[in-house]
Amino acid sequence: MKSASLERSRTMSKVLTYAALILGTVIMIFPFVWMILTSLKSVPESMKIPPTIFPAELIVSNFSDAVASLPFGHLYLNTALMVFFRVVCAIAFSSMAGYAFAKLQFRGKGLLFGIVLVQMSLPSQIFIIPQYQMVAKMGMANTVFALVFPGIVSAFGVFFLRQTYLGIPTEIGEAAYLDGCNQWQTFYKVMFPLTGTSVAALTIFTAVFAYGDLMWPLVVNSDLQMMTLSSGLATLRGQFSTNFPVLMAGSLLAMLPMVILYLIFQRQFIEGIASTGGK
């Protein structure tokens, strides 16, 4: 008797859980599905009110139009280079700085780390103008370097890896020192290899952020050949009218590499996002 009612309430709570999850999934996935559907509509149909759900006629030429209107080869390459160098820089500099903050004693450490924390807590938008001025003064606008520039050092990365290094027992570093390592060898032979999980997480976090970064590439590289996927696509939005089906087709093409990477590294992706607390 009692166990039957217990069983029923368990089933009930399971049903509710699944219902909530399914609802959530639908809400999350709807824009993506809408994007695919729009990319196959004609321009008039895409703007019809009330909207249609399925395209009356499949306009596949939207994709070729998108490819024709943007230098996709350059955009892919610029994006890839930007993501790659931002990831490499974030790992290299955040690891070194994080290690120093966690394990070394030096004058002004507290103050410097305070500055890192302040930078981390401010919105990145407020740095865009000074950063642009720096790049422009260097005469480096419209280059891959310009795209990478704000990602060379990541305050978040420094903070995140400092936490990781704090978690490694000091004695391991001391053992390395006794084993004859100097400070640098202790770092790269013993300490850095122990941060694999965090480095993987930071890689994914940085890559996802860099890939989605729109504002900075748009500001710093005005030359279409030097744009990234995100900023390139943004140029498809006209001042007065926008060809939404072509924009959506282009966006789908831009998403392709990320989707493929995601499918390959699904598990690491999820763990990485979860452990950085991003999203």
Binding site: P169, E171, I172, Y177, L178, G196
Partner: protein
């Protein structure tokens, strides 16, 4: 030649925390010396100064006849075993043991030979390809010893190496480390807060408190002739019993008045030292094993109420109260007295220790 000498060594941490004020200590070549004392008394700091992990604020530290204050750890010919082992988690056991030699650019086949030799001595050969995570506590401990061994150091430094092990394993590793010392014939400096480890392993024990050496002697002397109340209470388990006593002189013999009873003091005690204390209150110390619980009809020195009787198997630990003085006595398990009874106690008077109540320094043994 790897003796270690501290000459007026001071260690002050940033923030003006003086942990070791003025250390003078000589450790002979091939000696097994234990630094023992309560937590926070500066044992690790002292050991880490030998290792070169802590700067020396002032004074001189010699290894052999070389001043090593400014010598890098790797050039001091020492090896250290940490409490938490500090193995490199991403390296195999082999690489953990070999790492120091690789850093020193020792030829590969020589490294291989030494690693296998150490692994064999420590029964690690079947584990060489494992990572530390896949080892038990005892195995990790042995890897840490192996890592120290392969470098053929002149000095082994061990900082509470057994305190992360369970009681049974600790006993086994104690013997293993002692054997290792005999085999390697090098200087061992071993830090512990556990007096049992100190008593069983060391050639010599240095008892520390607040960064100051209290007594530095063989285990036997420390046990038989503790130089002050602190050492007397720290060495030995269960702890030595302490009671207030008044010294009296009767003819040529001295006595101690302890809670209403007169206890004769052994004639072997230093008479000159005692003379100064006649009529004064001192602290009388006697170890639990030097007090006999006897039948009430037999000759005895004290009577005390039994508060708790702990049966240990072959023995009973009696916790007694003698007019406010708490005592612990070991009695054979055949002893008839039970909780609530009054027990009769006979002291082995030649094992009595007397301490000055103010300075806590030993008066006579």
């Amino acid at each position: 030649m790897a003796s270690i000498t501290f000459k007026h060594v001071e260690k002050t941490y940033p923030g003006n925390v003086t942990v070791v004020p003025d250390l003078n200590l000589e450790i002979k070549d091939k000696e097994f010396v234990i630094l023992v004392g309560p937590s926070g008394c500066g044992k690790s700091t002292t050991l880490r100064m030998i290792a070169g992990l802590e700067d020396i604020t002032s004074g001189e530290l010699y290894i052999g006849d070389r001043v090593v204050n400014d010598v890098a750890p790797k050039d001091r010919n020492i090896a250290m075993v940490f409490q938490n082992y500090a193995l490199y988690p991403h390296m195999t056991v082999y690489k953990n043991i070999a790492f120091g030699l690789m850093q020193a650019k020792v030829p590969k086949d020589e490294i291989d030979r030494r690693v296998h030799e150490a692994a064999k001595a420590l029964d690690l050969e079947h584990l060489l390809n494992r990572k530390p995570k896949a080892l038990s506590g005892g195995q990790r401990q042995r890897v840490a010893l192996g890592r120290a061994m392969v470098r053929n150091p002149a000095v082994f430094l061990l900082d509470e190496p057994l305190s992360n092990l369970d009681a049974k394993l600790r006993t086994a590793m104690r013997a293993e480390i002692s054997r290792l010392h005999k085999r390697l014939q090098t200087t061992f400096v071993y830090v512990t807060h556990d007096q049992t480890e100190a008593m069983t392993m060391g050639d010599r024990i240095v008892v520390m408190k607040n960064g100051i050496i209290q007594q530095n002697d063989t285990p036997q002397t420390l046990y038989d002739r503790p130089c002050n109340l602190f050492v007397a209470g720290f060495i030995g388990s269960p702890q030595m019993n302490f009671m207030d006593a008044v010294i009296a002189k009767k003819g040529d013999a001295y006595t101690a008045q302890v809670c209403g009873n007169t206890i004769p003091l052994a004639p072997s005690m230093d008479k000159k030292a005692l003379a100064a204390y006649v009529g004064k209150t001192v602290v009388l110390g006697i170890r639990p094993e030097d007090v006999e619980a006897v039948g009430s009809g037999e000759r005895h020195d004290l009577e005390a109420k039994i508060e708790i009787a702990e049966l240990m198997g072959a023995e009973i630990n009696l916790h007694l109260d003698c007019q406010g003085n708490k005592l612990v006595v070991r009695a054979p398990s055949t002893y008839a007295g039970r909780e609530g009874d009054v027990g009769a106690l006979r002291l082995k008077t030649e094992k009595i220790h007397l301490f000055d109540k103010e300075t806590e320094v030993a008066i006579a043994h």
